[in-house]
């Protein structure tokens, strides 16, 4: 794969595994009541964030969604701070006030997850203006779902980004469903990427379970955006392995469909096998990497559990001023 070094590929593998193990853990913690509220697992979709974030620079921005843990991890998010946030602790990314849907990190240029479907899409326009105005060739990577692409803000934002030639890469994670609504029944055109025509920008479809395809598409889009060629729309065809949230039995979709994706299109399994086959890593190395990652996830749980609860007095004092 042109543009992908061996190190890049190993980094992508590590990111995939990190997201997988983190998400498996959060589901466990949700089921035991340690995490509450809403939790939207990214299992099955790991390749999108892993490939996409590898294709942009540290200084570039990302805009995330309610299903945002993977984006945050791929952009370099701190597992301890993430886990602490999910447990509502004071050491978490949002001091325990935001939970799963609101993680942000200025240093890492993560402009925030969002509880509002599509809420981040217009924000990407503003970040795009900033990048264009400062003229340092930075770009914005804006993640959203197939469901979000049906809200008005998607259309307004892509139109404006195109009119002003903003350096934004729109990446639609089409996991086929928006809660129970299948994208086949909710998107009037064949593919979300078709909509790029209306906004005069490239529209690219990639296999969203293959991180290298995503890497390539985002790299190309970023190159164009940095040169002032404006936004692109990439549609990554992917699948969420779980229901919309851990308590959703996903009765609205066929079991065979889910089984197919889990057995044939698992991005973590497939990429691991690919790198082993191409002798980029050995089986033993993968096991070591996996163990290390599993340990760091366990570590994050310990960190979160041992962290203090947010200080109520301080909160009440702060609230007086807003």
């Amino acid at each position: 794969m042109p543009g992908l070094t061996k190190t890049d590929r190993i980094t992508i593998l590590k990111t995939l595994l990190k997201i997988r193990r983190f998400e498996e853990k959060t589901i466990q913690l949700y089921q035991t009541g340690k995490i509450w509220g809403y939790l939207h697992p990214y299992l099955g979709e790991e390749a999108v964030a892993s490939g996409a974030c590898q294709a942009i620079k540290k200084d570039d921005y990302i805009v995330s969604t309610h299903r945002g843990h993977g984006h945050c991890i791929a952009k370099g998010g701190d597992l301890n701070k993430m886990m602490a946030e999910l447990l509502g602790k004071s050491t978490g990314y949002c001091k325990g006030r935001g939970g799963s849907m609101h993680i942000a990190d200025t240093h890492l240029k993560i402009l925030g997850a969002n509880g509002i479907v599509g809420g981040g899409i217009p924000i990407s326009v503003g970040a795009g203006f900033s990048c264009k105005l400062e003229g340092r060739g930075r770009v914005v990577l804006c993640f959203f779902g197939d469901g979000a692409a049906n809200n008005g803000v998607f259309h307004e934002s892509l139109n404006m980004a195109s009119v002003f030639k903003l350096p934004v890469i729109y990446i639609c994670e089409n996991n086929l469903y928006a809660i129970s609504m299948c994208s086949k029944d909710s998107v009037a055109c064949e593919d979300v990427a078709d909509r790029s025509d209306s906004y005069s920008m490239p529209g690219i479809i990639v296999d969203g379970t293959d991180p290298e395809q995503i890497f390539k598409a985002v790299s190309d889009a970023a190159r164009g955006a940095r040169k002032g060629r404006g936004p692109s729309l990439i549609e990554a065809k992917t699948y969420r392995f779980t229901g919309h949230h851990p308590n959703d039995p996903a009765e609205y979709r066929k079991k065979e469909e889910a089984d197919y994706y889990k057995s044939e299109k698992d991005p973590v399994t497939n990429y691991t096998q690919k790198l082993i086959k191409e002798k980029v890593v050995t089986k033993k190395q993968v096991q070591d990497i996996d163990r290390e990652i599993t340990d760091s996830v366990e570590e994050s749980v310990k960190f979160a559990e041992q962290s203090p609860e947010p200080d109520l007095e301080q909160f009440l004092e702060e609230v007086k001023h807003i």
């Binding site: 509450w36 509220g37 006030r97 849907m101 479907v117 599509g118 998107v187 009765e251 609860e309 109520l312």
Partner: protein, 323 residues
């Protein structure tokens, strides 16, 4: 009388009205096979089919606009906004269209639309899924605002809302869907603007609506042990408001506490306070107290979340201060 869940009461109201009037239909996100985020529509897709249970893309403005358009052309839609927080995306259709059309057109057009939605804190779903935004709609002339607390009220009021020729914001609270309440087998409707005294008392009136009615009732029970008799006044509909019944209650008890989960700044609670001062000042033996949510986006952490909204203890304390 049978005890049923609040959400089942809503479901019954919808079924009875859909059976009675073929012009009634439902439109919203995940209301089909999924049965709605809070399962109020369970089984309705099978019963009425996809033409009357319209499962839509995530397009709040269009869901509301479709409601307005269908209402203008002879149907009686129930448009659902899954969380009141997402009404922000549909605000033009609610505020500038639904609420205005009848008045702007000199009564020549009606908008018989029900906007069903849900709000409030308590589930750890943080700042963008926990707001109490009723004051926004209360503020806009042309909208009715209904916030039922019990299963009985929910059913009777939803039926009235569906039959009403004007747009109604029907706001539920996410923590009370599973509450059980008595609902009679025979049909009944509850007129808008008729308050319900949920508990009779003589020493003080506690005005509370939606989920806060239950906190007020618990507070009243506790205060009774101290010999304080509280009247719990549930307006059931905020617009129209049964102001006369409230004034009568205040004239009887001479004291008033107003409870609301929403934060106080620019709130319904503040407005009620002003209205009572204006029309019943001479009967008041003490200042009016407002017990409201804090002026804060609702936090995720449970301790902070609970500290952001009123509880039984806050109401008890407020009552004690006045007596």
């Amino acid at each position: 009388m049978a005890e049923i869940e609040y959400r089942e009461a809503l479901r019954q109201a919808i079924i009875e009205e859909m059976d009675r009037d073929p012009k009634v239909f439902l439109i919203g996100e995940d209301i089909g096979v999924y049965g709605g985020a809070f399962r109020v529509y369970k089984g309705l897709l099978d019963k009425y089919g996809p033409d009357r249970v319209i499962n839509t893309p995530i397009s709040e403005a269009a869901i509301l606009g479709a409601g307005v358009g269908a209402a203008l052309t002879g149907y009686r839609p129930i448009s659902e906004i899954m969380f009141i927080d997402f009404a922000t995306l549909a605000m033009d259709q609610i505020v500038n269209q639904a609420a205005k059309i009848r008045y702007m057109t000199g009564d020549s057009l009606n908008v018989p639309l029900v906007i069903r939605t849900q709000g409030g804190a308590g589930r750890g779903v943080a700042a963008q899924h926990s707001q109490s935004l009723e004051a926004w709609f209360y503020h806009v002339p042309g909208l009715k605002v209904v916030m039922p607390s019990t299963a009985y009220d929910a059913k009777g009021l939803l039926k009235t809302a569906i039959r009403d020729d004007n747009p109604t914001m029907f706001i539920e609270q996410k923590m009370i869907y599973l509450n059980q309440g008595e609902v009679p087998a025979e049909e009944y409707l509850i007129p808008f603007g008729s308050a319900d005294i949920k508990r009779e008392g003589t020493d003080i009136t506690i005005f509370a609506y939606s989920a806060m009615v239950f906190e007020a009732l618990k507070a009243a029970e506790e205060l009774e042990k101290e010999g304080i008799s509280c009247e719990v006044f549930d307006p059931r509909t905020l617009v129209p408001l049964d102001e006369q019944a409230l004034i009568e209650s205040v004239k009887k008890t001479n004291r008033l506490v107003i409870v609301s989960e929403a934060c106080q700044r620019g709130s319904v609670a503040s407005d009620i306070c002003a209205r009572v001062v204006d029309s019943a000042f001479d009967w008041l033996d003490a200042p009016i107290k407002v017990v409201a949510g804090l002026n804060t986006p609702i936090p995720y952490n449970s301790t902070l979340e609970q500290a952001s909204i009123p509880h039984q203890a806050d109401i008890v304390e407020a009552v004690r201060k006045l007596i």
